[in-house]
């Protein structure tokens, strides 16, 4: 199909989608309407389980089963990327060169890296209280470690990033989520049931199992993102393959 034909076909399809989407928008509840039956029930459920952050309560208590699926998707992605970006037969890994950086950049890294790690742990640990949680804090933790790459060089990043440990941590955290769900089944009669003491509202030990699920997801996201980025960085920094175009034996032009 020519490029022009493709655009024409898209145009026809887009008009149909636009018309029906526009019509259905008229039938949606008014923007800013006050009736949110599910929202009201979620807020009530969150207050009943003494979880101050309602979004965390929805994700790790009411809809914990969906979050199990979500973190499984993340785990599968890490596996998939590991598989896709593995070393091919015609590629070699060469050690990354040491690189010089400005002293000010290095200072920024030294100051910022521990600070960012603490912020990441804080966001994971306070997921049941304030905006944040395992997913957000995990990404902060993973990013913090990569300050080592930005402010120093790839060798430093490799030293602060024990990939073998992180691979195991990723799997163990993913498994821990399921095991905690099974513990809920054993203790409370329902998979992923919030069976722990609920604690005092708006204290760090509130919300029952919500902080534990947040911690498991935080470890999984942090190690998963680091492993994922490690594979991409390996491609960019360390890989030396055959010249442009890969397997030239397969190319027929």
């Amino acid at each position: 199909m020519t490029a022009r034909g493709r655009v024409l076909l898209f145009g026809a399809g887009a008009v149909v989608v636009a018309v029906f989407f526009g019509l259905s928008c008229g039938e949606l509840p008014r923007f800013g309407a006050t009736a949110h039956p599910y929202g009201d029930r979620a807020v009530a459920a969150s207050l009943a389980h003494r979880t101050a952050n309602v979004v965390s309560s929805v994700n790790f208590d009411v809809r914990a089963f969906d979050t199990l699926g979500e973190e499984s998707i993340l785990f599968a992605t890490v596996l998939g990327a590991t598989l896709l970006l593995r070393l091919a037969r015609d590629e070699q890994v060469r050690p990354a060169p040491a690189e010089g950086v400005l002293p000010t950049t290095r200072l920024l890294g030294i100051v910022l890296l521990p600070l960012a790690l603490v912020v990441g742990v804080y966001i994971v640990a306070h997921g049941q209280l304030s905006p944040g949680g395992g997913f957000q804090g995990g990404v902060v933790l993973a990013t913090a470690l990569h300050l080592g790459y930005v402010a120093a060089d790839y060798r430093v990043l490799e030293r602060v990033r024990p990939l073998a440990v992180l691979d195991v941590a990723d799997s163990a955290a993913a498994a821990a989520f399921t095991v905690m769900g099974l513990a809920g089944l054993a203790a409370g009669g329902a998979f992923l049931k919030n069976v722990l003491p609920l604690g005092t509202f708006n204290q760090i030990t509130s919300g029952g199992t919500v902080p534990l699920f947040n911690a498991a997801v935080g470890i999984e996201v942090a190690s998963g993102v680091i492993v994922l980025l490690a594979h991409f960085l390996e491609q960019a920094v360390e890989m030396s393959g055959p010249p442009e175009g890969g397997g030239s034996a397969e190319e027929e032009h």
Binding site: Y38, N53, I73, A88, E250
Partner: protein, 115 residues
Amino acid sequence: MGVLVYLAAGWMLLVALYGLVTSRNLVHAVGCLSVAQASTYVLLLAVGYRDGATAPVFSDLAPGSRPLVDPVVQALALTDVVVGATVTALLLALTIQLRKRYSTLDPQALTGLRG
């Protein structure tokens, strides 16, 4: 104002799809897909909005003192962001392999099937 927010989400989706259809670079196409995904965030959060409401977080708010936006769609948007990030990562990994094996990033140049 009422319908405009929903229409903006639809507009974002169509713009992203146009970008996908006319894309000449797979990295650009992955970006377009992220924009398409972002349109769902706009739609979800628009559905959850409530006039004069604040965030559904009680760390600095007495329960019942103010109306809250719908936390369910916010949780859905969070799920959406995570899944979007994983899809982007996998597609970029595939793009790297395509670049290695076919020495092009132009989806329109990838025509033949090779075993």
